[in-house]
Amino acid sequence: MSSVLINSLFIFMLAGFIGFEVIRRISPLLHTPLMSLTNALDAIAVVGAIILVGEHKTNFSAVLGTLAVIAAMSNVVGGFLITDRMLRMFKSSHPTKKP
């Protein structure tokens, strides 16, 4: 068990490092869409909730799980939707226009 946790620590360390490296380089132009994107990705928690509901170990867990799925799923849909809407708005003038 403890080795599973250690392992999770490794994953966390690596992913955290990637997060810092990648996000530090994201142009300020995109900070708002970035927020909504990470938000949608974060909603991957839905998989945990799904299993909770699906396994239906106790009614209590199933009820909490259902609410959790609803909350997370609305983030998934809403997050991706608005991110895409924002990005569709970003248009480049053709470089010729540039000084």
Binding site: T32, A49, V53, G54, N75
Partner: protein
Amino acid sequence: MTTQPFMEIVYLVASALFILSLKWMSSPGTARRGVWAGEIGMAVAIGGTLLHHGIVDYKWVAIALVIGTIIGIPLGMVKMTAVPQRTALSHAFGAFCVTLVGTAEFYLRSPNVPHFMMGVLCCEVILGSLTFTGSLMAAGKLQEVLPQRPITYRGQNIVNLGLLAIAVAIGIYLILHPGARQLFPFMVGIPLVFGVFMIIPIGGADMPTVISLLNSYAGLSAAAMGFVLDSRLLIIAGALDGSSGFILSVIMSKAMNRSFTNVLFGAFGQVQAAAGGKEERKPVKSVSAEDAASILMSVNKVVIVPGYGMAVAQAQHKVRELYDSLTRRGVDVRFAIHPVAGRMPGHMNVLLAEADIPYDHLVDMDDINGEFPQTDVALVIGANDVTNPAARTDPSSPIYGMPILDVDKARIVMVIKRGMSPGFAGIDNPLYYMPKTLMLFGDAKSFVGDIVRELGGVPAEVASAK
């Protein structure tokens, strides 16, 4: 979360896609591909999970997914100006989900939860629940259903920290005695209360910084949930979200030169009171839309500096018209974007993009500041603090040291705002009293509209003449 190799592979793919998604997000050219990668990853992960052997009851899963989608769509269609509160709301949802799952897991597993595992579980639940109520409060303040102004009383910080301390103490007790089920509700409840109290003393304008902090909390709690469920995918997503929220808050506080503590303990509230409404009596030069228009007609290089006021007034489309008629006249128009102009990171970019202004004409502070000396007119539209020279010159100013746009270096400065009232920082702006500065008093939207009308008639012909 499972040991079916097939699902693990699915999750591996999803993780890779998530990382690529963020990577592609780094430039406007590839950003949309990034979103697609994220969507595919998500679909793969959810699809794979549904095939999980353990799942016996599909009905409620399906129902929940449908309801979630139905709620999600309107959340995805909100107006661009509502994005800040929408973001806050979605943090609340995320944290809600995490807290619920954490709670369920606890009651399924306790009393036999290993110490370390219980520790992680406590982090998950405490972070989750305080993020939940905190984000709801933040959303409320941004939506202005709650009072924007900071509500402070003496001993506030002691009370808050006390609450948090109790929650943590309970957590520690639970780590040692995972069987104490009756205590768990308190470990959920107290942080819920703390979340509310935490936001009360913080002014509405500080919410964006708070939101990104809450963003990283949400990420961390999700990662903790990943630890509990041994889901690498979840750990990765959580870590990415956490670091992103953290980095954004750092960027913001830097650009506002404030410290987290400073934001969290609402120090600005006092400053506001103290610095507000001083030296209003100095004379300013105020001119009409005609005069402004006639000046703008005659120059070569204009830099437009949008700020929170443009957002409030919803003036971006009028600004677009101004941009058009000026460029049609051959005036070189650029936009100077301060990292914290408006009320959320990238606020101005999104609004101007919405108004179809090409993003390569939106210039970051560091790149544009060099150009102001060669600029004929710096047209400030509803921006204030981000143009305040006091940040450069007056060590006594509360925003001293905050990097600003050097509009005061331009040949002429025009400022569109409704009155002399200060901006977010609540301090007066020497810029307005400079001889080169012309104040254009009025609502951003209508005033810009007037200028466009003044410029009006001609461009069509000019265009055809060209």
